[in-house]
Symmetry: C2
Amino acid sequence: MVKLTNEIKDTLAAAKFAWLATAAKDGTPNVVVVAAFRLLDDESLLVSDQFFLKTLANLEENPKVAISWWSDKGGFQIKGTAAVHTSGPVFKDNVEWMKVKWPRFTPKGAVVVKITDAYVLKAGPDAGKKLL
Amino acid sequence: MVKLTNEIKDTLAAAKFAWLATAAKDGTPNVVVVAAFRLLDDESLLVSDQFFLKTLANLEENPKVAISWWSDKGGFQIKGTAAVHTSGPVFKDNVEWMKVKWPRFTPKGAVVVKITDAYVLKAGPDAGKKLL
C-alpha cells in the first residue's frame, strides 16, 4: 500500500466525480462515474455503492480497480484492491455518511479500496508516470 | 458491432472529456481521461493518442476497451475492441484532424474502437443496463 500525498488528496477532495474502472475475468474493462467517495485514511478510499451492476460482478471475479479524477486543482489515477462490505461496521458507517451526503439514495454496499499505486493523469510528457 | 442511437451520439458530441478504460493481461484495469475523440461512423470511435503509456501497453495485450462520458446532455458507457494505427490513412487523417483541433499536440497513434455494446451510465434503477 502507499500513502497518498497532500497534493493528490487535495485534488480528490476537489473532485465532484471520479471514474471507477474494473475488469471481468475475460479482460473486459468497465468504467463508471462515482460521486459518493471519500478517503478513510491516506491509504484507503471508500466508494459507496448504490447502483453498481457490472462493477460488482467484476469485483467478485477480480478485486483490482483503477480510479481517476480531474478537478479544478488537477487529477490523478490510483490503483488498488477492493473489498465489498454489505454488512458490518464499515457498511453501517457508509449508510450513516450517505444519510447526510445524499439522503435520497440508500447504499447497498461500501467498496473499500486499499491503494497500491498512484499515477500522473495530466496531459504532457509525464502523463501516465508512476508517482507512488 | 452496434449502431449508436442519436441520443447516445448527441451526449458524446456534447462531452468535452471521456474516460477510457483498458485492462492488462493480469486483470489490472487502467482508466485515463481523453479529450480528442470523435465518431468515424455510427459503429466506430476514434481516440487520438498523444500520451498513452499504460493504455497502449494494455491494448497490446488485450484490445478490449470501455469508454464512459458525462455531458450536460447526459452520458453513456460503450464497450468495444480497439485497433491502434501508427501509420497509414487512418493515422494520417488523425494527424490532419489534430492539426486543427489541438495544434500544440502531435498524435503518435490513432485508436479506432469498433463498438460492440452500449450501457446506461446515469444513476438510478436503470444504471448499468445494456442498451445495445
